[in-house]
Every structure is written in C-alpha cells, then in structure tokens.
C-alpha cells in the first residue's frame, strides 16, 4: 500500500518561493495568477497493515513542522 503526503506552508506564513514563482509567471506573460503557494509531496511505500493514524504520526513527528506547515494524507 502507498500513502501520499502533501505538506504546505500554513496560511499566514510567507512563502517567498511561491512569490518568486508568481513573479516569474507574470514576467512570462501569464496574466491572472493572483497567488502561488509551493509545497511538497512525499510518497510512502508502506507495509500492509500500516494505518492512516501511523502516517499521521509520521507527519507530526517528522514529515511536517506543525509550527509552519500543515499536511494531508491520501492512502491508496
């Protein structure tokens, strides 16, 4: 089984990389991009029986920093 973890900076935390991407898109002529937030995707290949609760614990202890980031988990 697999899990896909999305980690994003929380709202209210400035994302300078997203801002730089937004500026670049505007400079390239792509109009109408009001904001860009850049996050990361982490794919986990898991032993059978690993629960979503286990993955949540991995997220809170290592994969995301709860001071600045939030995460979502997709199990498949």
């Amino acid at each position: 089984m697999k899990a896909r973890v999305h980690v994003m900076l929380k709202d209210g935390v400035l994302d300078p990389q997203g801002e730089a991407v937004r500026h670049a898109l505007g400079a390239m002529g792509f109009d109408g991009v009001n904001g860009v937030r850049q996050g990361k995707v982490i794919e986990l290949d898991l032993a059978d029986g690993t629960t979503e609760a286990n993955v949540n614990e991995m997220c809170e202890k290592l994969l995301s920093n709860m001071v600045i980031e939030s995460y979502t988990v997709e199990m498949s």
Binding site: V13, L14, P16, Q17, A20, K61, L62, L63, N65, V67, I68
Partner: protein
C-alpha cells in the same frame, strides 16, 4: 566548564565551535549524532552550524530526530545549558526546545556577510558580557534564517525578555528582526549569526568572544 559539541553528517562549524569553547577555558568533547548519551559532567551542549543531513526535508529536521538529540532534549529539560548556532538553532527549533521555526530567507538568497546585532538583553549567561542596547558585529551565513513564530509566541518572547539579539538591518525577513532567542529558563540560546566566527583576531572580528568568555566562569553541572 565541560562542553559537548554535537557532530552530524554535514556539520561544518563543529571544530570552530570547539575552538571557541576551548579558548574560553572549556574542556570539549565531540559527540557523534548516533551516540545515545552525553559525556558525564557536561555543563553545556553546543549544536553547531552546517548542513546536517544535507538540509534534506527541512533544515535541522532529520538531525532533530537523531539519537543524540533526544539526550540534548533531556539535558535541556532538566535545566542544562545549550547553545545552537545557525543550523544548530534550526535543530533546536525542530526539537521544540526553542519555539518557532526558520524559514527560507525572504530574498531567497543565501547570505554570507557580517551584520550588526542589537544586544536586546544582558540578563542571561550568554549575553552578560555585553551591554544591553549595544551593537555587535557578527557574521551570518545561511539560506534559511527567516525566524517565524505566531504573534502570540513573539509577544511572549518579548514580554519575558527572551529575545537575545535582533538585526540592526534585517537581512532575511525574520519576524520582529529576531536573530537569537532564549528558552523560558534562559539557559538555551538559539541564534542564526556565528559568534564562533568572530572569536579570534584572525577572524577579522572579536565581538563573539564575550559570549564564550562569559560562559566559562559561571557554569556548574546541571
């Protein structure tokens, strides 16, 4: 004073920090990240700068979960002294020993230069060799030094006199210009600038010396 300097794969200021402690009169033990115990009688733990674990995932995140960091946490929790510099500050923030987090510099660039720091408080062992309100020149060298914490945490740090240093000219977007903060008991300091790189006339500046000198006389085992 017996100081332990933690070494991770990718640390690169560990020996500079050891020399600064030694010059201030300390006995220094180097401690590897896989060690599960700090040496007996350690008064202060130094978490050095560098790029622990290649800055993978987040700066300091993997180091913060290494075996020795559990011990550093136990040491700090029972009232032991610890100083985290640059990557070491990132590690201590990731462990939760210090509040907040270090984000990518607002200008996105790695910055390596000497900056002015306001000494905000002299009411802790690390800064008592300085005058509160004074300015010292200390080098920075980081890509992720943009201090962030929620407004409530910033207000608490300021209200409890736990901001040790602020930048005179904010280079990285850090909230409230914060360059270094203290734990609630003021025995743990985390700072992005490198006092160990301004601790010898050969460095081109000696404003970091007072920090290490102040430590030497007064530490007793926790």
């Amino acid at each position: 004073m017996h100081a332990a300097v933690v070494v991770f794969p990718g640390s690169n200021c560990d020996r500079d920090l050891a020399v600064a402690f030694e010059t201030a009169g300390a006995k220094v033990s180097m401690v590897w990240h896989k060690d599960t115990k700090l040496p007996d009688g350690v008064d202060i733990v130094g978490v050095p700068g560098g790029f622990s674990f290649g800055d993978y995932l987040r700066c300091g995140a993997i180091a913060a979960n290494s075996p020795i960091c559990n011990e550093v946490k136990v040491h700090a929790d029972r009232g032991g002294y610890a100083i985290g510099i640059c990557n070491g500050f990132q590690v201590l923030a990731e462990t939760g020993v210090l509040p907040g987090a270090l984000l990518r510099n607002a200008g996105l660039k790695y910055i390596c230069k000497t900056v002015g720091l306001n000494v905000v408080t002299s009411q802790c062992v690390y800064t008592e060799g300085y005058s509160a309100g004074g300015v010292i020149d200390i080098p920075i060298a980081h890509h992720d030094g943009n201090y962030f914490a929620d407004d409530e945490t910033i207000a608490r740090l300021q209200g409890e006199d736990r901001v040790a240093f602020t930048y005179t000219d904010n280079p990285n977007g850090a909230k409230s210009d914060i360059a270094g903060i203290l734990s609630a008991n003021k025995r743990v300091l985390g700072m992005m600038p490198h006092p160990e790189r301004a601790a010898d006339p050969g460095h081109g500046g000696t404003d970091g010396q007072a920090l290490f000198r102040a430590l030497s006389g007064i530490l007793t085992p926790a």
